[in-house]
Amino acid sequence: MRRALRILVAGSILWATLTHAADLRVGLAADVTSMDPHFLDLQPNVNIGWHVFDALTHVDEDSRLIPGLAASWRALDATTWEFRLRRGVRFHDGSELTAEDVVFSIERTLQVPAGQFRPFSQRIVAKEIPDPYTIRLRTAVPYAMVPYDLDSVFIVSKTAAAGARSEDFDSGKAMIGTGPFRFVRFARGDRVELARNHSYWGGAPPWDRVTFRIVPTDPARLAGLLSGDLDLIEQVPTADLPRIRRDAKIETAQKVSWRTIFFHLDQRERAPGITDKAGKPLARNPFRDVRVRHALSMAIDRQTIAGRLMDGAALPASNLVSPPVFGYAPDLKPDPYDPEGAKRLLAEAGYTDGFAMTLSATSNRYVNDEQIAQAVAQMFARVGVRARVEAFPVNVYLPRGARGELAFAMLGWGSFSADLALRSLVATADAKKGFGAFNWSGYSNPKVDELLERAFATVDEKARETLAREAMRTAMRDVAVIPLHHQVTTWAMRRPLAYAPRTDEFTFAHHVRPR
């Protein structure tokens, strides 16, 4: 009897741990709008995409490029890239992955109405398939970013996705990929359910079933974790960090994110809303003087913001990309807090009495964005610059920034590489070259532009990284923008789970270990 009982107890414990170990419930912080992997390039959508699909190239935890469905690649010449596919990779429907599927997927990114993945495929002008496991891609001009761009092109099955609309992905009909999980169900606004792909080429993931629950409200997501409804949550609010760390049932994982927070300073002839302290418009735009830009950077106490406001979940920044990212210039150091030096520089530039301006920020986009803006405004007041803070929700803010209505504006940016970040944010705006699309500052430096052009045309990675670093140094020493900090992302999970945190902020169920 006792023995039978013991077996029963042991069995039920084993059963309990087994069922527990095989199911994973993850709390996502933002809504997943579509299952179509070639529609919107939004973090939550792409996050789900990485579970069901794969791309030719992947990036590792540090956002460095690694092989994916392509086992290897090389530049045959300056405009031709050859990718060799992994052999024996199978889609969830059992069919084998071939170069045809890759070509179909690249073409589909160009065809989806209002699809946003064109920037990653539009530079490819010709595609060749010498054999079923090899693809050659040509660009019109030398272009080094092809392997990076293809990290953003999910490979779908040509048979399943031919003629498929976004609706067919939402329903699951076309959701056939090569990823670590098979698609089970998408309940819009509520959850996405996935099941293990036993024949995943990278080894079957440790979870039978994964449920991604969409819980955008921070306290609700945290409550879900504390009550045991969820096993792991992403984007833990910084204010709750001390409390979570005290909880014996909860483990956290942190990593510096690729998202860098910085300030654009409008450096055109006239910047909106900059006046002397009496409210009279200034004769010239002070931001055109590098001493003023440098003074404002020195007036910001980055350590205090990172330590107090962000509860340690930020790293003071000197670059526009975070430390693990390609092209980060490690020799640049964050400007030390020096209000006296800042005052001296302002006086040298002719602003002994300072000036008044508007400091714009988002109110719902970046971690603690509005509080950071308030803090920076107070720090500016100490060096004699009066900054009036205005914070808008992102739906008002971004269009205003794009129209050039913001003189001193907070923005956050995540990039695979320094040259990409600089191309969008700091390069001289030029629609023909595709440079400076988000250069709200109107900054223009021919040397930076030239270095960037050379970097994009250099297929040798080492040489390209040298050029990208040099471009970063040139722009940062000129204070093209004022970098503030790199966000640190926090995941929280119930023990004994473990997660390898990622710089790109993605939450991958196949990287959650039962331990």
Partner: protein, 324 residues
């Protein structure tokens, strides 16, 4: 009565056109949705191409004309964020909100009317005072805070109910609903209670003052004089008079419960259409915003119509038409 209904519907068509014009112009004034939705790696050409692909580069009048032309055939546009027809998107989310609102309204009515009657018939008793004070609390506590407290107590503290989400649904006449399964009901309980709190208090107070007034009326005295039981006096004669204002208010409130469900939906991650509206405003997804408001206008018109018809049935002295 037929002309009354027809006139109401014609008026609402005018409201629809006016409302859509206002929303259209409002969203247009805020800015280009592509500035928010665009992939940050895009260059200027790509942004211009995406803007043109959605017709957002056209003048406002032209965009509105195209919208009206499509609306006449029943199409309210395709969502920028979901890549699906806006109407379908809203109808897909509507059952969740309607179920939540209905559950909240049922809780308010089933508990509110008897509690209010009790407090009205025996205003000085301990129970009567407790109900009155409780209803003030229910009025004044913010929904957001109450929702979080409910989660902290019943989910995190006691572990009885799930923290958020809708849980499994069962199909009922082709519509996914929660109330047919135990697990679904457990998910529904907290959000419905949270949403019900305000109206529960409102209805209890209405019923209380209605009952206090009725108790002083002659017909109640006559009924008592006739020897009717107290139960029959309160349960039939008083109740019937209390129901008229309660039905009117409950009808109007049903509309606002649907509209205010958005706070509760956000806290409890309930996949309803209120949350869809907030998300859509967040990215200036105009087709969804316009379609949502059109549907809400239609819903309010129908509810108000139903309330008027119900009131005239409950109280034959109310006449429809003349100056409604």
């Amino acid at each position: 009565m037929f002309s009354f209904v027809a006139r109401r519907l014609a008026q609402s068509l005018g409201v629809l056109v006016l409302m859509s014009l206002l929303v259209f112009a409002g969203v247009y004034a805020v800015g280009n949705p592509m500035d928010i939705l665009i992939n940050p790696q895009s260059d200027q050409n790509e942004i211009a191409r995406a803007t043109a692909a959605l017709g957002l580069d056209r003048p406002l009048a032209e965009q509105y004309f195209f919208f009206l032309r499509d609306a006449a055939t029943g199409h309210l546009g395709r969502s920028f964020a979901y890549n699906l027809p806006a109407i379908g998107l809203i109808l897909e989310r509507m059952p969740a909100t309607l179920e939540l609102a209905t559950a909240a309204m049922l809780i308010s009515l089933v508990l509110g009317i008897p509690l209010g009657l009790w407090a009205g018939v025996a205003p000085r008793s301990a129970a009567g005072r407790t109900i009155t004070v409780g209803s003030i609390l229910g009025f004044s506590l913010p929904t957001f805070w109450v929702g979080l407290m409910l989660i902290m107590v019943f989910s995190v503290g006691l572990g009885w109910l799930p923290t958020s989400g809708r849980g499994p649904t069962t199909n009922f006449a082709g519509i996914p609903v929660s109330f047919l399964s135990i697990e679904g009901l457990r998910h529904l309980a907290l959000p419905a209670a949270n949403l019900a709190l305000f109206n529960l208090s409102l209805i209890a107070r209405l019923a209380r003052s209605g009952a206090r007034e009725a108790m002083r009326q002659d017909y109640v005295r006559f009924a008592r004089a006739k020897g009717l039981s107290e139960r029959r006096v309160v349960g039939v004669h008083v109740l019937r008079n209390v129901l008229v204002p309660v039905a009117t208010v409950a009808g109007v409130e049903f509309g606002s419960v649907i509209a205010f469900a958005v706070v509760t939906e956000s806290i409890f991650a309930w996949p309803g259409m209120g949350k869809l509206l907030i998300d859509s405003i967040g990215v200036l997804d105009r087709p969804v915003i316009v379609a949502y408001l059109c549907i809400v206008v239609v819903m309010f018109v129908v509810i108000n119509l139903a309330v008027d018809l119900l009131a005239s049935w409950l109280d034959p002295r109310i006449r429809l038409g003349a100056d409604a």
